[in-house]
Subunit: 431 residues, 2 copies
């Protein structure tokens, strides 16, 4: 190959890919959508994929009657950060990049990436990684079940009881039920098992901190020699919560989705104290997917490099500022409401920002306060807002989870509709 | 963003990534290794990762006593194809590429990629895809267990019996055992169950065609209303076998690993007739990993575009030529041996090449013929060759699988050592 590195006018084989990517990126889609390299191509041109409620070839047409989407946890609020860092976050992947099953050390795990993950934790101050084992997964989703497998006792006559505290992230139940095994079984709410007579039973407790859906920092409830705990720390980043201290639990799970916003990359990692648990999780990854995609690992490495640039504060400041701003706007909109409320989250000292900081959770845990509004999802639906039903989180349907981490378009429309809902409530009261 | 597309001297934000990639690629590592974008960086420079038995900063130092590695199925034989297609196979991934969980149609599956997969099958003539459902997986490994799950009967009092014909790919057993479920259980060799009294039992039969390890085209053995079959067609490409006709089975599994050589990308797909089975496999993918990495899907799409260039014959011609050449060399080396043999594969008409063609399997199923050579792995080990023990494939240890799809360096050393082994045998006989 001819290579003339150092002068951008003398690029060789890489030019075609670079030109292709810039052509796709040049479609701005009116700021309400984007075009992708792997999107539909019509008449030789890439096509805009519009945000919810926008349409037309350039996404400029707003559909006024369209429902505000506050349903899933698509972390698109971080997209502007990456557009701002276009040059440093781009990667050019060659056709022959990492074709092998293994890295140079015969593992499925990039040591460079592992090193960068530890650095990011050190800067955020959210987890102890020194002298810990790290396993990669195809998103944290895969690691959740891998951890359940790894922590289940071998050859026990009764399967380990898997529990979580209501309200909890529904995947703990659906996943554990789906991969029903002779080794473990989902057994519902932790509080049902919180008495001393259960000390000899094997338990695996999921602890989500901060919690999905309600954003509260949580600790394990069950204790004892036969209790294992999986800390899902997906949201334990300065974007979403104060960081009181570095987490130092036996099994902690993180995901790139809620750190950099790359949900589609399907990359997560677990930080583990015990070598035997680590080895069992590695075996799970091996037999399930032969590790996580090397393309995802390459992408994650580049993203972490950008996160670490200039001392590594920028993404957390951007994340916190965006989420804090959204939370304040939503809180203000609901201040005057008697019918609707959102959770309270305490102001708390954050070691990352070195100050007491206000709440900036990923989700609002929205409550319909009126006695007759038992189906809060329906109340919001009537106001043209799509949330996620409280029963999905094993809670009352008086609650709905509203996602605040989606695109600015989605949040703006949600806020607009909430304002209308509250003003109608007050209008009605005045009448 | 400023974009000046059309003239390579006027690239904007993409230049940095392009320059970075060309700098890494410019390290040629003496043709016995390569440098990667995510490899170790020492003093600001990427480092060569050398092929087995080569070392030194530029991989120029051969270690004469080093063992020939014919162990795993790393499909590096296709690497030169991708180096040759450097310009068309490169992709430039932006920092904001596909951050969302979902594609524009709310699925986890790129429709563009699906379309390209169907085109590749049409050209190879190896599978019927019209009016079929397609599921993506994190490698075919994930799809194997997803298919077992999907084909297991719900709420049956006895778990489905999962079987395969000896010699078989070890993952069928290890994976099924590891993910032990109330729904399925591995039950060994298919032939143990091949009598009519078993017709009411639920069976799931793995059929690998061509077979790993022995390269033979295979058909299901079990028949009946309660028998389900999973066809693992990883190697059903013109590289490795004659294609007598397009496969048209209920559940067929393919992987990019053995088509383009990108084992590290962890991307596979299943072609499915029945919608209910398809839906169950989708649920598995959802709860296991929320689909396969969008970065892998982007990469796969680009690779398929290159495969399809110019009528789509080149990669199959390259693959066949390379594998046929290796097989002929190995066969010739063993022609005069009385102690060692490899499997016979019939010449067969191939619809892709439109002629009768000779064997070009991915693996040699190597046999130690001497009565006392019951441990063939040890015999080869003594000759400084690392294969994979017959017992791994539930066969006799008189057999060893030798991988022929690794790098040219690995194959050359293997052939060299086989030649020495055979010449020593003949030397001994002459004495």
């Amino acid at each position: 190959m001819n290579l003339y590195v150092g002068n951008k006018c003398e690029l060789s084989w890489s030019t075609r890919a670079a030109v292709e990517a810039e052509a796709v990126a040049s479609l701005t889609c009116s700021g309400h959508g984007r075009a992708f390299l792997d999107g539909l191509v019509v008449e030789g041109k890439p096509v805009c994929e519009c945000n919810t409620c926008f349409g037309g070839p350039d996404c400029s047409q707003f559909s006024p009657g369209c429902a505000a989407d506050a349903d899933d946890g698509d972390p698109i609020f971080l997209e502007p950060f990456w557009v701002r860092h276009a040059a440093s976050s781009a990667i050019l992947v060659t056709g022959w990049h990492r074709m092998s099953y293994v890295f140079d050390d015969q593992s499925y795990i990039s040591q460079e990436l592992k090193r960068h993950i530890c650095k990011v934790h050190a800067i955020a101050g959210n987890a102890v990684t020194a002298a810990r084992f790290i396993v990669f997964g195809t998103g944290s989703t895969q690691l959740l079940n891998a951890a359940v497998h790894a922590l289940s006792p071998d050859n026990s006559s009764t399967p380990a009881r898997v529990v979580a505290s209501i309200p909890f992230y529904p995947v703990y139940k659906t996943q554990t039920d789906f991969f029903q095994s002779t080794e473990f079984k989902f057994q519902g709410d932790t509080s049902m098992w919180n008495d001393t007579s259960n000390t000899s039973m094997n338990f695996i407790e999921f602890v989500t901190s901060p919690n999905n859906p309600d954003g509260q920092l949580k600790k394990a409830i069950l204790e004892g020699p036969s209790v294992k705990t999986i800390y899902d720390h997906a949201y334990y980043w300065p974007h979403f919560t104060a960081i009181p201290a570095p987490a130092d639990e036996d099994v902690m799970i993180f995901t790139i989705s809620k750190l950099t916003g790359h949900a589609g990359t399907r990359f997560g990692w677990a930080v583990i104290k015990d070598e035997a648990v680590y080895q069992r999780m590695l075996t799970y990854m091996d037999l399930n997917t032969i590790g996580s995609s090397r393309d995802s690992q390459l992408r994650a490495l580049k993203l972490f490099k950008v996160v670490l640039e200039g001392g590594g504060r920028e993404i957390f400041e951007f994340g916190y500022k965006t989420m804090r701003n959204r939370w304040e706007k939503l809180s203000n909109a609901l201040l005057v409401s008697q019918h609707f409320s959102i959770q309270e989250i305490a102001y708390q000292y954050c070691t990352f920002f070195q100050k007491v900081r206000g709440p900036s959770p990923a989700y609002a845990w929205f409550k319909c306060e009126k006695e007759e509004d038992k189906d809060c999802y329906a109340v919001l639906k009537a106001a043209n807002i799509i949330g996620r039903n409280g029963s999905m989180f094993s809670a009352e349907n008086r609650y709905v989870r509203l996602s605040l981490i989606r695109s600015q378009d989605d949040f703006d429309l949600l806020l607009h509709r909430i304002n209308i809902l509250v003003s109608e409530e007050n209008g009605a009261r005045t009448m």
